[in-house]
Symmetry: C2
């Protein structure tokens, strides 16, 4: 029996509070920095553009030379290599407006003659001209610390001449699958009765990648407290340990007592379903999440405990992708328990997936999302609008 079941949301908060975002940084080639987080304020090293440049195809001019120009009272300017009084220089968008130019007459407002140009519209100063530093001035704050880089951001930094950025390191997440009955997947080994492929470690690895961490999946640890202890001790350099299996209350569920011995077992047993056997602990500053062995329970624990923690360590926002949907059927949930209910989504309608157990992974195959039914709620009625979290 579990001694005392914890409130799942409170337990998640306790774990989160005990961990800080990573301080470690690294320098990264800008082109590989998509979705990475800046570790310091980034100021512009240069003006962008670095020179006055034409914003249109046309002729660079001194604006005062065009005063009064109209189709019936045009102004004539000589074509030269340098803009000075009475002259103009043909320019294409983006080109430097050289010399005394302070405006560009767009090509539509000109008629080209042999050595000179007939200007049929007056331009004001800085018309059709992108001025030095119009986009960025040297020293301007481009992005603040904590900004998550997107493709246009990387383009802007490349336009400023940068080729490297300083970003926070991704959290290292060690994944330790446990269970003597488990066989590595993709090993080519066929299962004997009583054996199963190890899939929770695999699922954890794939999610750690998606959520912004670096997974480090370890070999399967046998159900032996010495082996589990060694596996934990040799992974304390990680920023988080996900330990899968061995977390219930059977005589071979060694993970929680081992954590209790090595460090601090914060919680063992949650008022959530599935996922009741989940345990949380800390050993020498390394948080440990013990995922239940049943795959759907492991998925629930990954979403409720691992995702927010990985995002926090990585300086990323906990931006759960969600949609609002109307329930087609009642969700019945266990009062006092946080319920992780899988739903199928179609055309704005959410249909709860009837299923018997946390071992039925095919129930997730049909689900596009999950509804979290709070502890104090007994169920949600059909026709009600509810928030559905998308399964990534």
């Amino acid at each position: 029996m579990f001694k005392k079941l914890a409130d799942a949301s409170e337990a998640s908060q306790t774990l989160l509070k005990s961990c800080k975002p990573l301080a470690r940084i690294e320098f990264l080639a800008l082109k590989h920095a998509t979705k990475r987080v800046l570790s310091q304020n980034l100021k512009s090293p240069t003006n962008l553009p670095g020179f006055d440049r034409a914003a249109m195809d046309g002729y660079a001019v001194r604006s005062k030379d065009t005063r009064g120009a109209r189709p019936l009272t045009p102004v004539y300017l000589k074509i030269k290599n340098q803009v000075e009084k009475g002259t103009c220089v043909p320019v294409r968008t983006g080109m430097s407006a050289s010399g005394d130019a302070d405006a560009v007459v767009m090509i539509e407002d000109t008629i080209l003659h042999k050595n000179h140009v007939e200007i049929t519209a007056e331009v004001h100063p800085y018309r059709n001209l992108a001025r030095v530093g119009e986009d960025m001035m040297v020293g301007d704050l481009v992005f603040g610390e904590g900004h998550v880089l997107r493709p246009p951001d990387i383009s802007l930094l490349a336009a400023l001449g940068l080729s490297e950025v300083e970003v926070y390191q991704k959290p290292k997440v060690s994944i330790i699958p446990t269970g003597s009955e488990l066989v590595p997947p993709f090993s080519g080994k066929t299962l004997q009765p009583g054996q199963a492929y190890e899939i929770n470690g695999l699922m954890s690895e794939l999610y750690v990648n998606i959520w912004g961490g670096i997974p480090r999946r370890q070999l399967i640890a046998k159900d032996d407290p010495t082996v589990i202890k060694e596996a934990i001790l040799s992974n304390l350099d990680a920023d988080l340990i996900l330990l899968s299996g061995g977390t219930s209350v059977g005589d071979k569920d060694y993970a929680p007592p081992v954590i209790d011995e090595l460090g601090k077992l914060l919680v063992h047993g949650m008022r959530m379903t599935p996922g009741k056997p989940t345990a949380l602990g800390i050993v020498e500053d390394t948080p440990i999440i013990c995922l239940p062995g049943y795959p759907v329970a492991a998925l629930a624990a990954l979403y409720l405990f691992a995702r927010p923690l990985i995002k926090k360590l990585a300086h990323l926002r906990e931006d759960r992708p969600q949609v609002e949907a109307e329930l087609t059927r009642k969700i019945t949930s266990r009062p006092g328990y946080l319920s992780f209910t899988r739903v199928a989504l179609k055309d704005g309608l959410a249909t709860p997936i009837m299923t018997t157990g946390a071992g039925i992974l095919s129930s997730v195959a049909q689900a596009q999302g999950y509804v979290l039914v709070p502890e104090e709620v007994e169920g949600i009625e059909p026709g009600e609008k509810t928030i559905v979290n998308l399964i990534e």
Copy 2:
């Protein structure tokens, strides 16, 4: 001048209709198949579980041997290696329930004596027992063609013993930056007056990756119709060509006339802002999107034309990430033009970013999303709720 401006939404539909999702498939190691799309219905090669297995820690029994068992009227069963009449076998969750077992008595309902077990609760047939094929039966449809694989899906397939899947290939997207004034980014070269780093090709490359394609960024093509023609012809093996720059109406904007010569120029010039110079065409079945040279206009064209097409080619849903937000200020837009308005998002409020031009990439740096104001709308008033598309 553009001869005739096209409706942007209609033009996008025209381009989409002219292209089919890729038929090409590939076999991929399951562990690398996250976010990939199944190219055929996938049926289970095996039963899962492959044997009756304990769903709880306890004792495997013949259920009829426990009939009438209660704390005050317990039943006694001998511990043996095989379940038969009057015997039981200790089992842990997941273990095979051997012999004649058809149920498991959970450990909480037993008292262990020396060679036998006192059973204090009756169990019905199949109680606490996961039956052969409970999760999947051999031949069951696991996922249909077109399913996008997520981590729990990959785990389910691994549990079924699969190590490879057949998926659609990702679309190959050639990116051809054009412009004699452009200098490759990260090349270490400093800019001369009139030069700029080539950043639209870089931005396109990063987005193609995010949107599910394989980018192939080419060297910068000079403003020379022969060079541009050769660049297009040598990339017709791609599923899509993104050609950046050279698409306006200046005397060096060669891309649209070259496409018109080699194949079919569908559209040149859109009623959208920014992004008016965008052109669309097809050469020998390869669609070509000509992105404007101004980076914000290029971003708008990427979102409006490239994203839906890449998703379609890749068999992915056009699932634009969106939120609803209330406007803090009026969005003024040009009537008759589809407007791509950048907004900053905070606490459910959207603030339009005032900016002068499509060349100002820093306007995107401050924006978390964009509002598409339809052609027939003149603006959106403050206080109105509007859909904001998130900038990925």
